[in-house]
């Protein structure tokens, strides 16, 4: 009995309870159309108040409910997954801190108090990424933290730009000050901040790198909560963002993110990285639908995606555990024969990701794609959307084939087990949610249904690209090893595609070299060079030389006295002679 009460179980219970409370409150709020806005004033300077605000509406409550639910099951899951970890308490506390900062981020509609959550997410996720002590996670953590720090800095700049309005409750200014020049500045800064958190294109490299974290962390942090913080911020800012040039750029960038991640996932053989790239692709989808002015659809997809993506990661964790910590999918295969329950969860979440009808992803993704077809778009964006949908199917089928169908390649003798009920139970909760959350949410949060009116071919377009992607995925997964070597014929292009368009290299070696070089030169030439020369050492040198010089005169004064006397006399006599 005593054994059951661990920190994991306690946290699970608490978080689950809180999640249910939030669910009830959300229902109450949405039925009564209620919003609670709390404000606590920290300080007022120059009649500008720094306040800590709390906004509770159905959106924040619903998001909190999802975050708490996922975190509760993730913590329950890590009781088994991290069971041999010596510092389990530290791990759980870090995860709890992470959830806490996420909640602070969700509930604050104030750009100063949002920093509490925003910075907290960055810092705690840094701690979680570098949880395992090796160079890989160290580098990944640094990349994660610094990419996120770019966003923090942009939020700081937003704070100083918001000073113009005399308050930091941005939520009040979104409509009213929309056409103000400063608001353009603010919204572009906010968009960049959100892009860093949600790993959109110039900043995407940290998300796959962050897979160095323990798998429960990946399930919670890098799939459903941290990365959606940027999307959530932009959902809150959405009133501001309509009809802005920068938003068009965001649409392009997020579309490209979606496309790039989809392609890279097909080249990847690391199980967690494939899932991470699919997260990236879905984030691109959310961002792009958001930048087309449909925040509620983005929110909808955010929630459903959180469910099945967390589940997917948890399944991946089970598989990795079982495979003696091997993450390479080429070594896996045929596991559906040995671990049916986990395979079931894995397949359902994968299919939900693809948007197979009546699973969670279908409701959000299909709606998004149909709204895209309805809207007035150029061909490029349209193609990016549909190609990415096909690519999702492509890498999913490929992954499923590699995991479930192909041969098991790791060892000739093996023993896989599926009876870790702690993990399975926690996966069951999310399995249920991955099945029902789409339809449940679509009934719950849309006041009036979207009216879709499309020609047959456009309506069936999703089906076409999905089938095409699925077939290609099937064929690719059956590719023989010597055909794979054919990739070397197009080495440049395939390395470009599989290395995420060189973004990881560009955002690490591409940048840090210049700054480190600059720092080194500055240290060498300024601190140890010119500054020393013109102050400390230089002054010392001058004083020393002059004193040696004078000392020389003083020591030799008698000789010099006589010498100069003689000199002067000679000059004198010479002059006399000249005159005479």
């Amino acid at each position: 009995m005593k054994k059951n009460i661990s920190i994991c179980f306690l946290s699970f219970f608490f978080l689950f309870f809180m999640s249910m409370v939030n669910f009830m409150m959300m229902i109450y709020f949405i039925m009564n159309n209620m919003v609670i806005f709390l404000e606590w004033e920290v300080i007022t300077l120059n009649s500008v108040s720094v306040v800590m605000s709390i906004l509770l509406d159905w959106m924040s409550l619903l998001f909190m409910m999802f975050v708490l639910l996922i975190s509760s099951v993730v913590i329950y899951y890590s009781k088994s997954y991290m069971s041999s970890e010596l510092n389990l308490n530290r791990f759980i506390i870090l995860v709890l801190l992470f959830v806490f900062s996420m909640i602070l981020l969700i509930i604050s509609p104030n750009i100063v108090s949002i920093l509490l959550g925003w910075d907290g997410l960055g810092l705690v996720s840094y701690c979680l990424v570098i949880y395992y002590q090796n160079f890989k996670s160290y580098n990944a953590g640094m990349l994660t933290a610094l990419s996120n720090r770019v966003g923090d800095v942009f939020i700081l700049m937003v704070i100083s730009w918001m000073l113009n309005y005399g308050s930091w409750n941005y939520i009040f200014y979104l409509m009213f000050m929309k056409n103000d020049y400063e608001m353009y500045m603010i919204s572009s800064l906010v968009i960049v901040a959100a892009m860093t958190k949600s790993a959109q294109i110039p900043f995407s490299s940290w998300l796959p790198a962050a897979m160095a974290a323990p798998t429960p962390v990946s399930a919670l942090v890098h799939s459903s909560t941290l990365v959606t913080a940027g999307v959530y911020l932009l959902i809150r800012f959405n009133l501001l963002l309509v009809d802005m040039l920068f938003l068009k750029i965001l649409l392009l960038l997020s579309g490209l993110t979606m496309f790039m991640a989809g392609i890279s996932a097909n080249y990847e053989f690391d199980l967690k990285k494939i899932i991470a790239l699919s997260t990236l692709s879905q984030l691109g989808l959310m961002m792009s639908i958001l930048s087309m002015g449909m925040p509620d659809l983005a929110f909808f997809h955010l929630l459903t995606h959180a469910m099945f993506k967390a589940l997917l990661f948890m399944c991946a964790g089970v598989i990795i555990h079982m495979m003696n910590d091997i993450q390479d999918i080429r070594l896996m295969g045929g596991i559906s024969n040995y671990i049916p329950m986990t395979s079931l969860c894995m397949n359902i979440s994968n299919l939900a990701l693809c948007g197979i009808p009546f699973l969670a992803g279908f409701y959000s993704k299909d709606l998004i794609l149909e709204m895209v077809s309805l809207s007035n778009l150029n061909l490029l964006i349209y193609y990016i959307y549909y190609l990415s949908t096909g690519l999702t199917m492509f890498y999913t089928i490929r992954l499923i084939m590699y995991l479930m169908v192909n041969d098991y390649n790791l060892m000739s003798i093996y023993n896989l087990y599926d009876e870790d009920y702690t993990m399975l139970k926690s996966m069951m909760v999310l399995l249920f949610m991955s099945v029902v959350s789409g339809s449940m949410l679509s009934w719950l949060i849309f006041l009036n249904p979207y009216m879709i009116y499309l020609p047959l071919n456009m309506k069936m377009m999703v089906m076409y690209v999905s089938l095409l992607g699925g077939f290609i995925g099937y064929f690719v997964s059956n590719m023989m090893i010597y055909s794979m070597n054919k990739f070397l014929m197009t080495y440049n292009i395939s390395s470009f595609l599989c290395l995420m368009w060189f973004m990881p290299s560009l955002s690490t070696y591409g940048l840090n070299y210049y700054f480190l070089k600059l720092g080194q030169n500055l240290l060498k030439y300024v601190d140890l060079g010119w500054s020393e020369l013109y102050s400390g050492q230089g002054m010392y040198y001058i004083l020393k030389n002059y004193s040696i010089f004078y000392n020389f005169y003083q020591v030799n004064n008698f000789k010099i006295y006589l010498f100069s006397f003689v000199m002067w006399m000679m000059i004198f006599m010479f002059l006399m002679m000249m005159i005479l």
């Binding site: 300080i43 300077l45 570098i130 002590q133 160290y138 800095v153 700049m157 700054f515 500055l522 240290l523």
Partner: protein, 452 residues
């Protein structure tokens, strides 16, 4: 009580603590008395509008109140941090005397109304610092470091003395309160008055003494340097700048530009450091650069924010030096190549490293964040182009903080390690006393922010 004694009684308290140094085993008594004094001083009545508690030459407004509190607090924690001296019996009595003398000087510096007396004690506080570095430092280079410390400050502060005399000659008084009624549009006077404080802050280009002094100083010297000495410069600037209202508007951009660009450069230099203390020292130069920028914009946000960041940075960097010393005492090295993998030995200390490191990079809810926000506000309202440098500074300050943290805490520990002991409760208390005011005070931040 006689009203005239209100400020002086604390001075007397410090002076009458000095005889305690003559006896043995007075270390913790003095430390406790300092803490007691801090709590007594906290009950002082201060007004937000006026200088209060006037007596002879003493007075106290919010800014001097806060900085005196910080000085007593830091001096108390300096004793806590240097328990090693007590164990080694390394001139403990003289050390205690030095501490008390330093506290006396700092107390007098911050509580003087008179510009000359301020100058006197401003310079006077150099003596105990120099003694600390030269007397209790670790390496022979400490002599050079002491010289740097002394002569950088003296070089710029003799013109300050001349300036003070000039002001006295022209205006017939040098009370801080009356400075606002004078105005000098006089270039030479401006430079001579400002420069001493800029060297003390230190501004970029004249900061060389600081890393040297920090590297050579014992932990107490580093703590007082980072905690209080740098703030003397900021305090002086905040008091003095009222004299040069018109000229400041013309010339202050020089200092803002130097400090902002310098802050960025310094934060890049931090990445090249392999000495923990040197890195922390460089990071304080970077933060002080932002403070100089905020002061020089001459607006309300800047003045408030610079005061707040001075308090926050005093607590935070002093705490980081404590941590560096905690590692140093165990490994006898400050090199980042040797201080590695500490998380394996001291997981709880790793928490404190993280907390103080994150406060150093201005993570919420620390005072540093609030200060940085207000300084960014002030600098951005001065010119929005300062955004570029502020972004770089703020980004790279996170960078080097994380670099320091994860270099020390992660990875494999040094294989030449012979023996090790984990943290003791004194050290945890010490760090708590740094961290708690730093992060709890945000709940009542006007107490350390609004000073006029």
């Amino acid at each position: 009580m006689n009203n005239k004694m209100i400020m002086m009684k604390f001075m007397f308290m410090v002076i009458f603590m000095i005889p305690l140094c003559l006896k043995k085993n007075m270390f913790w008594l003095v430390q406790n008395l300092m803490m007691l004094m801090m709590f007594m001083f906290m009950n002082l009545n201060v007004s937000i509008y006026y200088n209060t508690n006037l007596s002879y030459m003493f007075s106290c407004d919010i800014m001097s109140f806060g900085l005196i509190l910080l000085s007593i607090w830091i001096c108390m924690m300096m004793l806590m941090a240097s328990e090693n001296l007590l164990k080694m019996k390394f001139y403990v009595n003289f050390f205690l005397f030095n501490m008390l003398f330093m506290l006396l000087m700092l107390y007098l510096t911050f509580s003087m109304m008179n510009l000359f007396m301020f100058y006197l004690f401003f310079e006077g506080s150099l003596i105990p610092t120099l003694l600390l570095i030269v007397g209790w430092g670790y390496q022979p280079e400490r002599i050079q470091a002491g010289m740097y410390l002394l002569f950088y400050t003296l070089f710029a502060s003799l013109p300050l003395l001349m300036g003070i005399f000039y002001i006295f000659n022209k205006g017939n008084n040098i009370m801080f309160y009356f400075l606002k009624f004078m105005n000098f549009d006089f270039y030479l006077l401006y430079f001579s008055m400002i420069l001493a404080f800029l060297v003390k802050m230190p501004m970029y280009f004249v900061h060389l003494w600081l890393p040297k002094a920090h590297v050579e100083a014992p932990v107490s010297g580093s703590m007082i340097l980072a905690g209080i000495m740098l703030k003397l410069g900021g305090y002086g600037l905040l008091r003095i700048l009222i004299l040069f209202e018109k000229l400041s508007l013309k010339l202050n951009f020089i200092w803002i530009i130097i400090s902002l660009v310098g802050g960025f450069y310094i934060s890049l230099k931090c990445f090249c450091q392999v000495d923990m203390k040197s890195l922390i020292a460089y990071s304080s130069v970077c933060h002080m650069g932002v403070v100089i920028g905020g002061i020089m914009t001459l607006n309300y946000w800047g003045f408030m924010g610079s005061y707040l960041l001075m308090i926050g940075h005093g607590l935070c960097s002093s705490g980081m030096f404590c941590l560096a010393n905690i590692n140093f005492e165990r490994l006898n090295s400050r090199s980042l190549y040797i201080n590695k993998g500490m998380m394996n030995f001291m997981p709880s200390m790793s928490l404190w490293w993280f907390l103080l490191m994150s406060s150093n990079m201005a993570a919420p809810p620390s005072l540093n964040l609030m200060g940085e926000i207000s300084l960014i506000n002030s600098l951005m309202s001065w010119s929005w182009l300062s955004m570029i440098m502020l972004m770089l500074i703020s980004f790279f300050s996170a960078g080097y903080s994380l670099y320091l943290y994860s270099y020390i805490q992660h990875g494999k520990y040094y294989s030449g390690l012979y023996s090790f002991y984990t943290g003791v409760s004194r050290e945890y208390l010490l760090l708590l006393l740094h961290w708690l005011p730093l992060n709890l005070m945000i709940l009542k931040v006007d107490w350390v922010m609004i000073w006029f």
